[in-house]
């Protein structure tokens, strides 16, 4: 058992007696109550549990909670609120980029990572970037459109 300290969406949490085997996804969902992070496969394929760890997208089902000791984590709850969606969230809504919403938190976190790091010049780039996140509802077309649109809004903002 270990005591750890993690920062989630800007707030620090001290958690004591963490079992070494506890998954980061379970820490976020069950211990800290961030149920926006979804668990779809527990073997790192579907991407639904994707969160940002120190600024990089990571699968919280493939990370142990103790590995996140000292880390800064952003979950979907840290992006925007129902009243004030962030740019990517609002583009998902605008373009109908979600149906059942289960894969959506992972799509958004991967999308945030892609938007920050890559030019995303073509739809192929966006599709390639999303290839580690599975969606069974949308056929991806509207997710691609939402990210493309968010990328365009991002370039407009830059001087």
């Amino acid at each position: 058992m270990t005591d750890i300290s993690v920062t989630v969406n800007g707030k620090r949490y001290d958690v004591s007696d963490v079992e070494p085997r506890l998954l980061l996804s379970d820490l976020l969902r069950d211990t800290l109550g961030f149920t926006g992070t979804h668990v779809g496969c527990e073997h790192g394929v579907c991407g639904a549990c994707t969160v940002l760890v120190n600024g990089d997208s990571a699968r919280s089902c493939l990370m142990l909670a103790v590995q996140a000791n000292g880390a800064e984590i952003v979950t979907v709850e840290g992006l925007g609120s129902p009243e004030q969606l962030n740019v990517l969230q609002s583009q998902f809504r605008e373009h109908h980029g979600l149906q059942c919403g289960f894969c959506t938190p992972g799509m958004l976190m991967t999308g945030e990572d892609m938007l920050r790091k890559y030019p995303l010049a073509t739809d192929e780039d966006i599709r390639e970037g999303l290839s580690g996140n599975l969606c069974r509802c949308t056929g991806y077309q509207n997710i691609v459109a939402a990210i493309r649109s968010a990328a365009a809004l991002r370039s407009e903002k830059k001087p």
Binding site: G40, H96, G101, S131, L134, R136, T138, Y140
Partner: protein
């Protein structure tokens, strides 16, 4: 609109919301992590469940030793079939049809196991980690009884019986017949035939199945939160099984992360968790991990079809016959029965075509696999694959273009209603219109020119067409599954204006991604006369309406929408009557719009809030007899149902080096009647087509001869990801149906048309090599083998 502007009657009669791409009410919560799926429930100090599942395909349970597990840390109970035998009655998936054996649904395997993955022992513990630890300590002794891994093995003379009481492994058999097929085939100018196979698939919703049973000890009541799309059916079945009246068993489907059919049957775990919650008088949670979900949720398709079609010299299909062998798995599912999937293959095989004579025979046989159940399209992805392959084989044999041969065989606009050879009646739908619209949008002529160019360069370029029709929004006259005794023909809407003037519309249908909260609110807003954003829709909660079944079989827009329209109108009449008192006007002169009742041609108006106050709170304004409660309930039954149809066109190119199929173009022209929300309709088509692409190119549950599942992870069971799905073009032929609102069901169609269109495109691409496509998925491995065989065949020919 400013409040003092005079309303014109044309303003208030014009629908404002139905037909508009209104953004979804669901989205703000789902985009911010504020949704609530079943696994997100946080009951007081919940216990957690884990199942020990059978590793044997077919075996007698000789002994279970769970003593060590019972003593393990955190364990509250270890339960076997014996321990719960007195706590429930088995659930029987009954059907009136002959030649059917109903296998009972048991929460845990009793006496023997029949597939790998069947739950045998349950551990209830203070955490899932501890529950799974305890599973390791349980010893189960099995006496193997011999695996039945393939449908052909099940019907062999020396096959072991999976259900001894049934006396046979054939759980269902049926035949459809019209006319003299043998004579018509004999007289045909051309006969084409083949053995077609659609392998077993997983519906694979991204949210695994999940149940939370919340126990209320003060009245021995259970609220089951379930990832189900049939909460009403689940409530009724568990109520009966546990002898617990409906007011002590509430079943709620909260936000549900997709189903596609896999959450559309009653599951052993769903029944078990309610039994355990009552037994332990505690709330209990369980969510399947991905392995459990793939290896124990209902599976899809798995049929082998021997079929033959006869054509006259003009390319008119005259006759069709088919023998279907369905591998239905170890059990019949509740309530749909094991007949749902394979019987639907033969009942829909003639499709949208005017084929004169028909014989379709089906056998559903038990094997050591999880049961097959509903999956988006049910039966029709295979029936369409087979019929459309035969149509193309006929076209090839007669030298007729595939587009033209369909024009000659589709039911034409002046021929509706049309009864096809299997007995299904199509109401007026744009069959030909869809075909023409798809061909035009795809640029069919141009594609053929591109193909000719590509072939000159030796490239494998193919074009495939598939047309289909489906029955949607089915009413009480037709059983959704053959001979099933429960009513699937009606749905209820209950609309209430409360004392604050707020509007709540409650339904029993249950969205699992289709956006019903939005589309049903669009309908209520228009028909009641209020603003879209002022309507709250509640769905999937058995406490909200007295009876419901749920969302399946492309019914919710038609049945839920029809109920919404009728209930809205009844409530609007009540509003008008109250308003006539308040405004001192004749009720006939009052129109209701934007949440207000307005005297036509004047600026005199009262809001719903004022009306509610007058009815419920202010005891002076209205006489007692005029204080009608502002609520309306309507149960809508479309009696028959309505047809939906589409044509899909795919263009593909196959890389001869990797044997990978690239989809270059995909066009869908569909008729779903009057569109409620075009944004949502397009999204449904996109998703359906993507699943069809998965079925055509990637997805296959592979069981070995010992009944072990070899593709149980998402690495081995491959569903399409973003790079594999092309940009899709969707066009709508909107011909209003005869049901309330003119809607047609459209949630499943994408998956019905796409596999056939892609199969035909691959066959077209490979036709220079004389290769036929008769099994799906066409994985690179299968294409490689076919191409290698074709090379050998050509070499042999050259040698002769």
């Amino acid at each position: 609109m400013s409040s003092d502007r005079r309303a014109q009657s044309s303003d208030v009669l014009r629908p404002k919301n139905v037909g508009a791409p209104i953004k979804r009410t669901e989205d703000p919560r789902l985009l911010t992590g504020n949704g609530e799926y079943t696994a997100d429930r946080k009951p007081d100090r919940p216990l957690h469940l884990a199942f020990l599942r059978s590793g044997q395909p077919h075996a007698r349970i000789a002994r279970i030793n769970a003593e060590a597990a019972r003593l393990a840390p955190g364990v509250m109970a270890v339960l076997t079939a014996e321990d719960i035998a007195d706590d429930f009655k088995p659930v029987i998936p009954f059907s009136r049809i002959p030649n059917y054996y109903a296998t009972p649904i048991m929460p845990l395997a009793s006496k023997k196991v029949r597939y790998v993955g069947e739950p045998v022992v349950a551990v209830v513990a203070t955490s899932r980690y501890l529950a799974e630890d305890a599973l390791e300590l349980i010893e189960v002794g099995y006496d193997p009884l011999g695996a039945i891994a393939r449908a052909e093995m099940a019907v062999a003379d020396d096959a072991p019986l999976l259900h001894e009481e049934a006396g046979s492994n054939i759980l269902i058999a049926r035949e459809f017949k019209k006319g003299d097929v043998a004579a018509d085939l004999k007289a045909a100018a051309v006969r084409v035939s083949g053995r077609f196979e659609m392998t077993r698939k997983a519906p694979l919703a991204m949210e695994p199945r999940s149940y939370t049973a919340e126990y209320e000890s003060r009245r021995d009541a259970v609220t089951l939160y379930t990832s189900s799309n049939i909460p009403g059916i689940v409530r009724d079945a568990i109520s009966e099984s546990l002898s617990l009246p409906g007011h002590r068993l509430r079943v709620v489907a909260p936000d549900v992360g997709g189903s596609f059919g896999s959450k559309g049957s009653l599951y052993p775990e769903e029944l078990f968790i309610c039994i355990a919650a009552r037994k332990l008088r505690r709330s209990i949670k369980w969510t399947a991990d991905r392995l459990e979900d793939v290896s124990s949720s209902s599976q899809a398709f798995a049929e082998i079809v021997d079929a033959e079609m006869g054509f006259d010299a003009n390319g008119v299909a005259t006759s069709l016959q088919a023998d279907v062998l369905g591998d239905v798995g170890a059990f019949s599912i509740y309530p749909w029965t094991c007949g749902l999937e394979p019987v639907q293959v033969v009942s829909f095989l003639p499709g949208p075509y005017k084929i004169g004579s028909y014989r379709g025979a089906v056998r559903g046989v038990a094997t050591c696999k999880p049961p097959t159940g509903p999956y988006r399209g049910v039966g029709r992805p295979i029936s369409t694959f087979v019929a459309e392959r035969l149509m193309d084989l006929g076209a090839k044999a007669l030298g007729i273009d595939p587009l033209e041969i369909r024009r000659r065989n589709l039911v034409r606009p002046d021929e509706f209603p049309y009864r096809i050879a299997s007995g299904i009646i199509w109401d007026k739908t744009g069959f030909i219109e869809c075909l023409n619209a798809a061909a035009e949008t795809a640029g069919y002529e141009q594609l053929r020119k591109e193909q000719a160019e590509a072939r000159k360069q030796g490239r494998l370029f193919g074009i495939g067409i598939a047309s289909y029709a489906e029955l949607t929004g089915i009413g009480s006259r037709i059983a959704v599954a053959p001979g099933m005794p429960i009513n699937t023909g009606s749905e209820t809407a209950k609309i209430t204006i409360d004392s604050t003037g707020a509007i709540t519309a409650a339904f029993g249908v249950a969205s699992h991604g289709q956006g019903l909260e939005t589309t049903l609110a669009q309908i209520v807003a228009d028909d009641l006369g209020t603003r879209f954003e002022d309507v709250r829709v509640i769905q999937g909660d058995s406490d909200e309406v007295p009876m419901s079944t749920g969302t399946y079989a492309s019914r919710s827009a038609v049945l839920g929408g029809g109920a919404a329209k009728h209930a809205s109108k009844i409530l609007q009449e009540k509003i008008k009557r109250v308003a006539s008192h308040l405004l001192e006007a004749n009720a006939d002169d009052i129109e209701v719009a934007e949440g207000k009742a307005i005297v036509l041609g004047t600026d005199r108006a009262v809001s719903f809030r004022q009306i509610a106050k007058a009815v419920y709170s202010d005891m002076k304004t209205l006489p007692v007899e005029a204080r009608e409660e502002l609520t309306a309930t309507y149960t809508y039954d479309p009696i028959n149902g309505t047809t939906a149809a589409a044509t899909h066109i795919a263009a593909v190119e196959i890389d001869p080096a990797t044997c990978f199929v690239k989809i270059l173009k995909f066009v869908v022209a569909e008729d779903c009647g009057r569109i409620i929300n075009p944004m949502i309709v397009d999204g449904q088509v996109h998703g359906g087509v993507a699943q069809g692409i998965g079925a055509a190119l990637f997805e296959e549950l592979i069981y070995d001869d010992d009944g072990q599942l070899l593709s149980a992870s998402l690495v081995d069971y491959v569903i399409p990801s973003a790079p594999e799905v092309p940009l899709m073009d969707v066009i709508h032929v909107e011909s209003e149906s005869a049901v309330a609102g003119g809607f047609r069901g459209m949630g499943e169609g994408g998956t019905i048309g796409a596999p056939a269109a892609i199969a035909n495109a691959i066959a077209d691409a490979l036709s220079p090599l004389d290769i036929d496509v008769s099994i799906l998925p066409m994985t690179p491995e299968r294409i490689f083998k076919l191409m290698e065989q074709a090379k050998l065949n050509q070499e042999e020919k050259a040698d002769e």
